[in-house]
């Protein structure tokens, strides 16, 4: 008897998926016949990531999906749509519950809600400000996509737009008295160029520096730590430099003092020195020691950059003239790395270190220059060789043409039946 019962149970469990497949979803049946906002969730949810994990309307909104009767559908478990203020807790009901998440997506973190509560958005929401961003403002509502999908609002190259929907809205930001040009500034910077032009998905976007669920403007003291996540070498050099103490004493942020924050332009030697566009003169007055050092570093780098540019032009000219110089081009790439390294050393302000890097680079540059000059000499040799060969061949061709003409004349002179050089066909 027990065995029979077990067999029946096993058979029933085999057919259970079929039973589930045949289950009715009254929410979809009704809402798909409605219009506007009441119909939209049905279409949007078709692509939602929650659907992929087998969740249906009632898993978030409660209610009885097995009936067409609206009153019966809205039973005791029905939660309906949450107010904006309650959305973080609504989503957190699952996303902050490790036991629930373990069952469906164990790799997903469960600290989003606690992080959100520490964020500026979360703090303002707690005070009753419902204009701030909640989960749905960034992730969407019923069409939530995995952040790995390029169409997702949280995919790296969509994040500036997602944040900008609020932060570039002057009307919305007016009451918070914060600027609205961050997205425009970011788009003009080097990080946006890496992300959008080079398609480098590791390039920083808004959340890389501000955090995502715990989004907060970084304090002046923490900006340097944020930048050091990627620019560790520059940060290390800066920490050893005399600037570190001076900046700390003045309570200044480190990196942003020279490079800015949202609009970070491609670094160049033009930022160093005492001329126009140099950031050093923002603090160092003419005649000060810092002013002199800045000028000295700039001169050293300018000489190296100038020589590099000259060799690059020579090599490019040789290549255009058809001489194979790819090995030298690789060597020039190494020199470029040395140049970048020397520019990076400016964060440490050690003129001796910079001088050593520049000397190493110039030594390597001499080798490349020698190859470029030899290649140009080779190009000249080829052209001269062609000129001489062409002259000889032209002379030979003229001689042949004259000979052919003379032979034709001789044949014509001796024309007539049986004359030499002519035969009946």
């Amino acid at each position: 008897m027990i065995f029979r019962g077990a067999r029946l149970l096993a058979a029933a469990s085999l057919f259970a998926p079929l039973l589930a497949f045949g289950q009715k979803n009254g929410c979809v049946d009704c809402h798909s016949q409605l219009e506007g906002n009441l119909k939209a969730p049905v279409a949007a949810y078709a692509a939602d990531i929650h659907r992929e994990f087998g969740l249906s309307c009632r898993d978030c909104h409660g209610g009885n999906a097995g009936t067409d009767d609206i009153a019966l559908a809205k039973d005791k478990s029905f939660k309906g749509a949450p107010t904006k203020a309650k959305i973080p807790l609504f989503c957190g009901g699952c996303h902050a519950n490790a036991a629930v998440m373990r069952a469906s997506n164990p790799s997903l973190r469960t600290d989003q809600l606690s992080q959100y509560e520490t964020s500026r958005h979360g703090q303002l929401l707690k005070t009753g400000d419902t204009k701030v961003a909640v989960c749905t403002d960034c992730h969407g509502v019923h069409g939530i996509l995995s952040a790995r999908l390029p169409k997702s609002r949280t995919f790296p190259w969509n994040i500036p737009q997602t944040c900008g929907r609020c932060h570039a809205d002057k009307g919305l930001m007016e009451s918070y008295k914060i600027p609205t040009d961050q997205v425009d500034q970011y788009m003009a910077g080097v990080h946006a160029r890496a992300l959008f032009e080079k398609k480098d998905l590791t390039a920083p976007v808004c959340n890389s520096c501000h955090g995502n669920h715990g989004a907060f403007p970084p304090a002046a003291s923490s900006v340097a730590s944020v930048c050091r996540q990627c620019h560790a070498s520059a940060g290390e050099l800066f920490s050893k430099s005399p600037h570190k103490k001076a900046f700390d004493d003045m309570g200044m942020g480190e990196c942003d003092a020279c490079h800015g924050n949202h609009k970070i332009l491609p670094p160049s030697t033009a930022m160093i020195g005492t001329g126009e566009g140099a950031v050093c003169v923002q603090c160092h007055d003419k005649g000060s020691r810092g002013f002199e050092v800045a000028g000295e570093i700039r001169r050293t780098l300018d000489i190296f950059t100038g020589r590099y540019g000259e060799v690059e032009s020579l090599l490019s000219l040789a290549k255009r003239k058809g001489v194979e110089v790819s090995d030298a081009e690789y060597s020039l790439l190494d020199v470029h790395t040395t140049l970048v390294s020397a520019e990076n050393l400016t964060h440490g302000l050690d003129a001796a270190e910079i001088g050593k890097a520049v000397t190493d680079g110039e030594t390597a540059l001499l080798g490349v220059r020698a190859v470029a000059v030899a290649a140009l000499k080779e190009a000249r040799f080829r052209r001269e060789g062609l000129a001489v060969t062409t002259a000889i061949l032209a002379l030979f061709a003229v001689a042949l043409a004259l000979k052919v003409r003379r032979m034709a004349r001789v044949r014509r002179g001796a024309a007539g039946p049986g004359a030499p050089g002519t035969r009946p066909s």
């Binding site: 058809g322 001489v323 194979e324 110089v325 790819s326 090995d327 080829r382 052209r383 060789g385 062609l386 060969t389 062409t390 061949l393 032209a394 030979f396 061709a397 042949l400 043409a401 000979k403 052919v404 032979m407 044949r411 050089g421 002519t422 035969r423 009946p424 066909s425």
Partner: protein
């Protein structure tokens, strides 16, 4: 003293190689001279360029390495590290292209002059076979530098071969030595290019030249002039003039436009946009691209490939199909067919390079 030594050497060689007989044959041999005899010189130019191909190809073998990991680097070394390597490779590549162009000119000029008519059927057939062989030379040689363009163009070309009905899949595997381009493909292409094709092609060249020499040059139908010039030295001098001009052209091209090495092939990268085969395949390549997907419920591309094969066969058999020419009568229908084909080839080739995404 010097003269007697030279005479002794000459007699020694003559006794063994019958050179006097050959010179006598060349002196006795004549070539018709008329308003269209200019077209005769393209045969000599093709032969001259073939000789350059053999000579430069042989020299390239000294440094080329047919290994996936070394092929591109060895070509780079030839272009930069070997004395005059750039010249040898550029001459080889440029003359290969000029040679195929000249072969097309030679073939169509022979066609329009109806030089294929009896008794020169085999001369025509061996000549057409040579064009096909030299196109195969071009296809196999294109991959050898193992650069991005050649790699993907070879993939496109072999995919076309693979879409042939019945034998396509088998043929593609045989050509590639596996399901995709690999070391096996490079080894095969190298073997085709430096061993199999040269043996077959040089044998055919010998057959073609012997036929031309023994049967003589064909006079166009209706040509009533009886003027002829001795093959040696008159015709040879004119030939040499053409060769000299070609040499100057090749020299200028090699110095100002040395043949590129390109970026090393990366089998894992995606196919670059606008990939094309060598220019002499583009008329067929573009036809396959514009042909409708289905023609009378048959797959358009396969039908087009079969069309090219059938067209090639008919072109080969033209001497037997053009009965009027066989009888020494004018055959305007064949002239129009040849003209239409020549225009089609030129137009499709030009369109390939001028119309975006074709």
């Amino acid at each position: 003293m010097g003269k007697s030594v030279a005479r002794t050497v000459w007699e020694f060689l003559d006794e063994r190689f019958l050179i006097s007989d050959l010179v006598g044959f060349a002196r006795k041999k004549t070539v018709p001279e008329h308003g269209r005899s200019f077209w005769y010189f393209f045969g000599g130019i093709c032969l001259f360029l073939t000789a350059i191909q053999v000579a430069t190809g042989g020299l390239l073998l000294l440094y080329y390495s047919p290994q996936v990991g070394a092929a591109h680097e060895s070509v780079q070394f030839i272009m930069g590290g070997v004395k005059f390597g750039w010249l040898i490779r550029s001459v080889h590549s440029w003359t290969a292209n000029i040679l195929i162009g000249m072969m097309f000119v030679h073939m169509f000029s022979s066609f329009f002059l109806k030089a294929y008519r009896k008794p020169r059927e085999l001369t025509w057939m061996s000549g057409f076979a040579l064009l096909v062989l030299f196109m195969a030379f071009g296809f196999s040689g294109y991959l050898l530098p193992w650069n991005e363009l050649s790699y993907f163009a070879t993939r496109v070309g072999t995919d076309i071969a693979g879409s042939l009905p019945l034998v396509g899949s088998w043929l593609k595997t045989v050509i590639l030595g596996g399901p995709d381009i690999s070391q096996a493909t490079l080894s095969r292409f190298y073997w085709f290019h430096v061993a199999l094709l040269p043996v077959v092609a040089l044998t055919l060249v010998a057959v073609h030249v012997i036929l031309v020499q023994t049967l003589g040059m064909s006079k166009p139908i209706g040509e009533r002039g009886t003027r002829e010039i001795p093959f040696f030295p008159d015709f040879i001098y004119k030939d040499a003039l053409g060769w000299t001009l070609i040499l100057v052209l090749v020299g200028v091209l090699c110095v100002f436009l040395p043949w590129e090495i390109g970026t090393k092939a990366d089998p894992l990268s995606s196919t670059p946009l606008g990939i094309k085969p060598e220019w002499y395949f583009t008329f067929m390549f573009s036809t396959l691209k514009i042909v409708p997907a289905h023609i009378f419920s048959l797959e358009g591309e396969k039908l087009a490939i079969l069309g090219f094969l059938a067209g090639g066969l008919l072109w080969l058999l033209v001497p037997f199909l053009d009965r009027r020419a066989r009888r020494g009568e004018r055959s305007p229908l064949f002239t129009w067919i040849g003209l239409a084909l020549a225009v089609y080839i030129v137009v499709m080739t030009v369109l390939t390079y001028t119309v975006p995404r074709l």
